[in-house]
Point group: C2
Amino acid sequence: MAPAYTIGVDFGTNSVRAVVVRCADGQMIGTRVFNYPSGDQGVLLDPRDPHLARQNPADYLEGLRASIAGALADAAREPGFVPGLVIGIGVDTTGSTPMPVDAQNRPLALDADWRGVLAAQAWLWKDHTGAEEAAAITRTAAEHAPEYLAPIGGTYSSEWFWSKIWHCLKVAPEVFDAACSWVELADYIPAVLSGVSRPADVQRGVCAAGHKAMYSDTWGGLPSKAFLARLDPKLADLRGRLYDRAHAADRPAGRLCAEWAAALGLREGIAIAMGEFDAHYGAVGAGARTGTLVKIIGTSTCDCAVVPVSGAIQNVPGICGIVNGSILPGYYGIEAGQSAVGDLLKWWVERVCEGDEALHEALTGRASRLKPGESGLVALDWNNGNRTILVDPRLTGLLVGQTLHTTRAEVYRALIEATAFGARAIIERMIAYGVPVERVVCCGGIAEKNPLFMQIYADVLGRPMIIAGSPQTPALGAAASAAVAAGAGEGGHATFAEAQAAMVRDGDTQYLPDPAAGKVYDELYAIYRELHDAFGGVPGPAAELGTVMKRLLAIRERVNAG
Amino acid sequence: MAPAYTIGVDFGTNSVRAVVVRCADGQMIGTRVFNYPSGDQGVLLDPRDPHLARQNPADYLEGLRASIAGALADAAREPGFVPGLVIGIGVDTTGSTPMPVDAQNRPLALDADWRGVLAAQAWLWKDHTGAEEAAAITRTAAEHAPEYLAPIGGTYSSEWFWSKIWHCLKVAPEVFDAACSWVELADYIPAVLSGVSRPADVQRGVCAAGHKAMYSDTWGGLPSKAFLARLDPKLADLRGRLYDRAHAADRPAGRLCAEWAAALGLREGIAIAMGEFDAHYGAVGAGARTGTLVKIIGTSTCDCAVVPVSGAIQNVPGICGIVNGSILPGYYGIEAGQSAVGDLLKWWVERVCEGDEALHEALTGRASRLKPGESGLVALDWNNGNRTILVDPRLTGLLVGQTLHTTRAEVYRALIEATAFGARAIIERMIAYGVPVERVVCCGGIAEKNPLFMQIYADVLGRPMIIAGSPQTPALGAAASAAVAAGAGEGGHATFAEAQAAMVRDGDTQYLPDPAAGKVYDELYAIYRELHDAFGGVPGPAAELGTVMKRLLAIRERVNAG
């Protein structure tokens, strides 16, 4: 029997990548990247508002077609491969990236009337225009529905679904009124491939719903009409045009429709997997299972773990997202993260040292020659706030221990170490609340390209850092999900566990902890934790200092306002 | 009657400057700088030991002759001036800068046998090779003679007299054995001019003795023989070859000898004032009097105040030096300071930003455009330890409040502000313990050249910052002391108060505090004090953090050692 293949399509911030993967062994036989043509590297900006980041939905559709066609053409070099052997398509995307759609589930932005209107485009994950709305949602929920805040760590983000839609309602009511519904990109693409022609038929993934839209089966789905009416009656009206149920990836989102089958040269009716966010399918593609923590390390970090729904998982205080089925069906998906990792080094190199990529390399070289503890420095990794444990986006950075001899390379290393200490704090918190962590698998740009970073992580965490076998874990995870959606009978897999066993493997690179370095880092981590608790406002003897960062921000805001 | 003149000679780290000053009005009519020819800009270094800093005594003698001759030649342009109108010479120097001398009071280094031997040279103030000895002196005094530590803030420094001599005894016993005595540079130069030919005849100034050699009339002069014997019996022996009494500047150190009168073309027998350290005669030349604080602001800062001996001055905890007569006769000289001011900015620009003087200017420009509080940053100014209040050279720096947008110019301004907060802490401490501060007069390179710095100081301190009238306050103060040593009958002055009234004036530049900026700085200063007390180990709720910097240093030292 000829081998079966699936396609994984990974919608990133600047481009979309498609891969063709063999179900039997995860071998990637074709790939193609398509760069979004619109805006600044695919992002529509507003020169008057640095918080705005939108995308042109036409780029998604063109990218979907072109990347798959390209990957299939690339795969054609594989002896015996023909597109008819493809049994399913899986999709992952950025998120929360919602877009307004009409009654035919067509993005408003594709309509000539709305083509140039920024509010009618897709609202990219990193759009922060809804900051005031996010704060109001947090306040309202804290007062009237605190249960909504518990699984998201107590604070609703400006990056998320409702903040964006409410902001649209405020600044562009004509767009809000014209929209029949709003659809997350992760749900939209599978619906397109499945030929869905009305929003009510879009299969909604619990990944986007649970992590970004305050969806939970516990309270009957999305936030109640009464709650939304407190924000704005029109949001309460919208609720009825959104969805009642969201689903894990244990069922297909649909079947490939005739139109797209023809466009792509694939068989009509093959399985279309449920969409998930890139981090979550990335975790699948890196081997997420009970006891394995997947760290996606890039500009920021996303830490993904799963525990069986059957187990007795407690709420984990300070961890933003615990959603049933959001990564793997049958498991709670647990998502933690650090708000600035690569970004922290980028800040140091570009803003402070005013250097470029070459300086990154030079400082990495100089920092590599330092021993743990040699600089006498410890930093807090909070220049962009703290996402996990303290869950406070308004915390700021701290550096202590500098002398007149302290160099930029020493600070560079201290910042890397700070992110490693932050990573350790997250893992310790998970373990303390019953999330087992036996293996740590890392993926993302930093994991693949920065041995210094990974060695420091191994030494600070006192564990091997395993690098994922695929450099394209999100696309691979989406392809694995497609293999499950297709099923074993089609040459796919019966379960995610089987799909991962067959298709996912660890990389050859592992960074092993050095016990001597670990001993020094244990001491430095103790200091990090003291600073963390004191400046993070954890109740304790030094709690007075817990208000320092906030007071500085309040002064800054007042000064800038007046 | 023809006007009288005095000469002030200021021995700095890299050069010596002589000035010719009219006693009636302080007008400077001649000046000349002589750069020390030996070593690296006058400093003898050891490539194997960065803590070593020595000077060639031959440079002092050649510099003494050349600078005075040059200043007299320059003064010859003044109508009516002739060298015969000079009625006295005053000298100020760096310190503690002791040197071993033979039985003729000749520096050993001038002897052919010792010419190339580093231990036989003058031990420059910033030589830190005696760090271990300093620690041992502190420990021994804490146990057996705590009274010795009270007036110096609890810690004996590696920069001071006994640390250096003891270190010499340990590493170069042959030099120690060959030395008949040790003489501070501030005492040596007046002795040379006076033709002193044996160490016992050197007039020792209480300035060097009291601030650096644990001299006090309270316990009968230098530390006791018994105490010194605990360090090393040979130090106890040396005590008998040093001095029993040290003097304030209310009496001349001597009279100009025939040999130097001939060499300089001056009248034999004119008054030679007691020598003092540059900061102290600098305070005199800036107008030090009861209620006036003189701040000498450069790489580090020296804050000098005086209070009448007749008054009821308490010990001021955390202020290193309170010495009867060390600045002005009849007054306690009170010396405080900050270990890094200009050096803190130099660190940021040169070590971190890897820039130069042009970058200092650029950052000053950018920092000038920031409002107080706008950056959201607060720093501690401890990169080189804390000299006053906490008196702990092992404290280190701290920066808090940085985000991913924080710029190098914002940090630059935060560091300036940190030094201003440190200055405020010192003034508040003085006032709290009965040292009146009604006027602040600033001198030194930063006071003269950096309006941004001085405006921030005015705003943080909530007081006008008066810039001293002379850019050469140490030499002017030495010249004023010479006028007092010569006396009113010779055309000089009867008292320091009269000399200062005639010869010293404020500059035209004053920086006035902006109340709006002051309000913001009051809030930032409150945060600075919380950090200061917590990380400085002041007993209080956050005292745990008071060990953070020390633990980091201990780790660093252990790592570097092994």
